[in-house]
């Protein structure tokens, strides 16, 4: 009986065997596939992935808590990593290599996760139309001066959630609510589409300012589509700050799942992701920022200007995440 079940499992390719690491990942980019292949080549460890949204994967991890099916949880949002930690789904990394490579500010407080790339949430503006009066901070975006002029995607998007969560951390709930109300009033249209669509609408003149993720600027740069190229050529980048804090950034990071079968492989895999070789590769392929200090920026990243990332709020975003959703619902930012 047992034998036949095992053979079925084996046939379905679902049983655990030694040389593999299984990821529940929010990322499964073409760049990642290259990185995974390089890891397999180097170590002989197979990388297997289920890709879905960060919260969907947490739901799945929770349902499997007594028998974890994955070894590593990877997201593009620090708040989700905090959430997974709080739910008791992750176990400490205990890796000297990671501790050496990644600054403490980009690792989870309980050593349950480490970042391997970073993205900024920046403002782009129409360089031909806007003369002077540039917003310097996220807070400026709520000023009546920008009425009907701001393009930003829906509030359910986690980059917007993490931005508002960071503003709650910095300014408090009341001010953050006021901010969200102000920005909502300034919108050039009801939120829709992706970050790419915001830049394209901006280039067509629907608004002068758009809030986008640096990752998407890299995508526009690489696109062979004519409209994408026009959009990219039409804009310039501002690295906004939040008061005393730097530019809002979010991270891609991973944590080892408690009770997972291949924890050692998962650790090796994360260590590989923060090696200098892979960090350089990510900057090149996805225009994300390396987390390991001292790695030179790509020419495209340099052309945007100098970023000074706000690394403090990364750790508290998870605490204010729910509050951010409630504020968005309250002010009617869809």
């Amino acid at each position: 009986m047992t034998r036949s079940f095992t053979s079925i499992l084996f046939a379905l390719g679902l049983s655990a065997h030694a040389a593999e690491v299984r990821l529940y990942s929010e990322r499964h980019y073409d760049a990642d596939k290259k990185v995974f292949a390089a890891f397999t080549e180097k170590t002989g460890i197979d990388v297997k992935v289920v890709k879905a949204g960060a919260n969907e994967l947490i739901a799945r991890l929770k349902s499997e808590v007594n028998a974890p099916q994955a070894d590593l949880y990877i997201t593009t949002d620090a708040a989700s990593l905090t959430k997974a930690t709080k739910a008791g789904l992750l176990t400490p990394l205990k890796s000297e290599i990671i501790n050496k490579q990644v600054p403490a500010s980009l690792r989870g407080k309980d050593d349950t996760w480490a970042a391997f790339t970073m993205r900024g949430r920046v403002i782009v503006y129409a360089k031909d139309r806007v003369k002077g009066n540039l917003p310097k901070s996220y807070q400026d975006l709520a000023s009546p001066a920008y009425k009907g002029n701001i393009l930003i995607r829906s509030s359910s998007n986690k980059y917007n959630r993490s931005l508002l969560a960071s503003l709650i951390a910095i300014d408090g709930k009341a001010k953050a609510t006021k901010w969200a109300t102000g920005v909502k009033k300034n919108l050039a249209r009801p939120p829709q589409g992706s970050d790419r669509d915001q830049v394209r609408a901006l280039a067509k003149g629907l608004g002068d300012f758009a809030v986008v993720n640096t990752y998407y600027l890299g995508l526009l740069e690489q696109s062979s589509n004519e409209e994408d190229q026009k959009a990219r050529a039409a804009v310039k980048v501002i690295f906004p700050t939040s008061g005393d804090q730097g530019t809002h950034v979010n991270v891609s990071g991973g944590g080892i799942i408690k009770g997972a079968a291949n924890q050692e492989n998962a650790r090796k895999f994360l260590e590989f992701l923060v090696s200098e070789e892979v960090q350089k590769l990510y900057q090149k392929l996805t225009s994300e920022y390396a987390v390991v200090p001292g790695i030179e920026l790509e020419p495209l990243q340099k052309s945007w200007g100098k970023i000074s990332p706000d690394r403090d709020t990364i750790h508290v975003m998870g605490e204010h995440d729910q509050e951010a959703v409630k504020i968005f619902n309250f002010v009617g930012w869809k």
């Binding site: 499992l9 379905l12 028998a67 829709q192 067509k204 062979s224 409630k326």
Partner: protein, 559 residues
């Protein structure tokens, strides 16, 4: 006119209990995710979940209901306008190219609404200069109004363009059967074709058309991708937001439960309203379909077919090919391998799920036909609605609930326990079957209802057991219904996204998850090639069944 007998008079005397138990077990298994959700309506909420529920009512629900209703009513109306005239002309007139057009009219079903939404990006951007003009000349309020109207219009057009085939298919079968014969009678009595349509054929076709519109409404309600992309917050989007934004799975389940109850009530209302006005006409041979008379009617014939085809088939395919040629980076060997693998997975998943759905539908509906149990009959009625009425995410929620319970019963370490935990693909198939079983069940139920009971009775008198009678008489007669059901299920499974995303095992991409992944990582043009494969795969299924059905139905009149 034969009124359908409630019970077969010959069903007594044969011990059905084992079969009934099987039907019950299967039905309850397939309904288990829905039962889990309905049960949540009676479970008290935790304080956090209750707070989320309150927030939902206070800020989100009203808009969500409003937007969902506008989209459903709009899409159904437009789908009706696109689907019904086409079906009527195709069935009532003989004109060159009719056969080809009739098949082409079904094909938009192969295009998932979320892909249509991505493909409409460029078309929608064309409105931006107009909107800017409105804003500068007439102020921001007028602009916002225009923006909203255009967005609603665009999404409704988009939904209707790819979903009207449900109405078309329903209309076509309704107009082709009894409708045609009575229509002929009406014509002989001197009514014009239009009068015949309004006074005879349309009222007769109403139940079928309502069933078609119900499918359109459910697709609109279930959609997440297209609605989200165009910035709407329908009930499904709110459901996602409650689960993943507010992080309240219990609140999400309760909302899902209420949505389900509402749908059940609507369906019950319709069935009650339809009442006993069920006609069973047994058509013998096929009347002659006249050629359209006059230039005006001919033009109308072609327009009614070509407009839906242009919107639902030509425009999306053209955009895709355009993307492929102009924008998509040339596929590498690696991306070809990825696409083929995904296509293979979609195909296998589609076939396995389709066969499972059909077999389950045959077992349950077959047993219901030979049994007297009222409760079982009710169960079968519920099962023809339940899965399809539940958003995919909701089914996934239910399945996870079932999985957790099953794992509690069989803990890890036991062979069944290990199997339950690791059998990722089985949970996915279970979920898909639970979701799409309704489609197959509906087709089988309709097919069985059309069969005269005396055929079966004759075979029983000649000494066949119910099983033999079912196999020899009912099953062959059911073939067209089964084929139709199989295609609809297969196409739906190919297009299925949320269940596959949430429940799939490692390294398992279907075409739709691959497309979702490409768009999610921002490389929207890279989704062109897998989208084309997805559409082709579904189209092959549709075309095969269409050709087969056409041969069977029309060979007399066409030859």
């Amino acid at each position: 006119m034969a009124q359908k007998n409630k019970h077969s008079q010959l069903s007594g005397g044969w011990d059905l209990s084992l079969w009934q138990i099987l039907a019950w077990a299967l039905g309850l298994l397939l309904l288990s995710p829905v039962i889990v959700l309905l049960a949540s309506l009676f479970t008290p909420l935790t304080p956090n979940a209750a707070e989320a529920w309150q927030q939902l009512q206070e800020y989100l629900l009203e808009d969500a209901i409003k937007e969902t209703l506008i989209l459903i009513i709009g899409s159904c109306s437009l789908a009706f306008i696109l689907g019904v005239p086409a079906a009527w002309f195709v069935e009532n007139f003989h004109f060159p190219g009719r056969r080809f057009l009739s098949i082409a009219l079904v094909l938009p079903l192969a295009i998932p609404p979320f892909i249509a939404a991505y493909l409409s990006t460029e078309a929608r951007e064309k409105f931006i200069p107009f909107l800017i003009k409105v804003r500068t000349e007439q102020g921001i309020d007028t602009y916002l109004l225009w923006e909203e109207c255009l967005r609603y219009g665009c999404l409704i057009l988009l939904f209707a363009s790819v979903l009207y085939p449900y109405v078309f298919l329903a209309g076509r079968s309704a107009f082709s059967g009894s409708g045609i014969i009575l229509g002929e009678a009406g014509r002989m009595l001197g009514r014009s074709p239009w009068m015949v349509f309004w006074t005879v054929q349309f009222p007769l076709a109403r139940p079928a058309l309502v069933a078609g519109l119900f499918l359109v409404a459910m697709e609109v309600l279930n959609d997440y991708g297209a609605v989200k992309h165009l910035g709407f917050s329908t009930l499904t989007v709110t459901l996602f937001g409650t689960w993943f934004g507010l992080d309240q799975i219990e609140t999400a389940k309760r909302l899902a439960g209420f949505i389900l109850v509402t749908i059940f009530l609507l369906v019950a209302l319709e069935r009650w309203h339809r009442g006993k006005a069920r006609l069973n006409l047994h058509q013998e041979g096929r009347p002659i379909t006249p050629a359209p008379r006059g230039l005006f009617v001919t033009i109308f014939c072609y327009l009614s077919c070509l407009i839906p085809i242009s919107l639902g088939l030509i425009f999306p395919t053209y955009s895709l090919v355009h993307w492929l040629l102009e924008d998509a980076t040339k596929p590498t060997a690696e991306s070809w391998r990825e696409i083929f693998q995904a296509a293979k997975n979609s195909l296998i998943l589609g076939l396995v799920a389709t066969v499972t759905c059909l077999v389950s539908a045959l077992i349950i509906m077959g047993i219901v036909r030979y049994s007297r149990g009222k409760l079982l009959r009710f169960l079968s009625h519920v099962s023809t609605v339940a899965g399809y009425a539940s958003p995919g995410t909701v089914i996934a929620l239910g399945i996870m609930g079932v999985a957790v319970t099953a794992r509690d019963w069989f803990p890890a370490g036991t062979s069944i326990g290990d199997f339950l935990i690791s059998g990722g693909i089985l949970w996915l198939i279970f979920a898909i079957v639970a979701r799409y079983f309704s489609v197959a069940a509906q087709m089988v139920q309709q097919g069985l209802a059309r069969q005269p009971e005396n055929f079966g009775q004759a075979s029983r008198i000649l000494g066949d057991s119910p099983l033999q009678s079912f196999r020899k008489i009912a099953l062959p007669l059911l073939t067209p219904s089964l084929l139709g059901g199989a295609t609809l299920v297969f196409v739906d499974v190919c297009k299925e996204l949320p269940l596959c995303l949430l429940l799939r095992p490692f390294e398992f991409e279907t075409l739709s998850t691959l497309i979702y992944g490409k768009v999610d990582q921002g490389t929207i043009y890279a989704c062109a090639m897998p989208s084309l494969f997805l559409i082709l795969l579904s189209m092959i299924g549709l075309i095969l069944v269409e050709l087969n059905g056409w041969r069977k139905l029309h060979h007399k009149s066409d030859s």
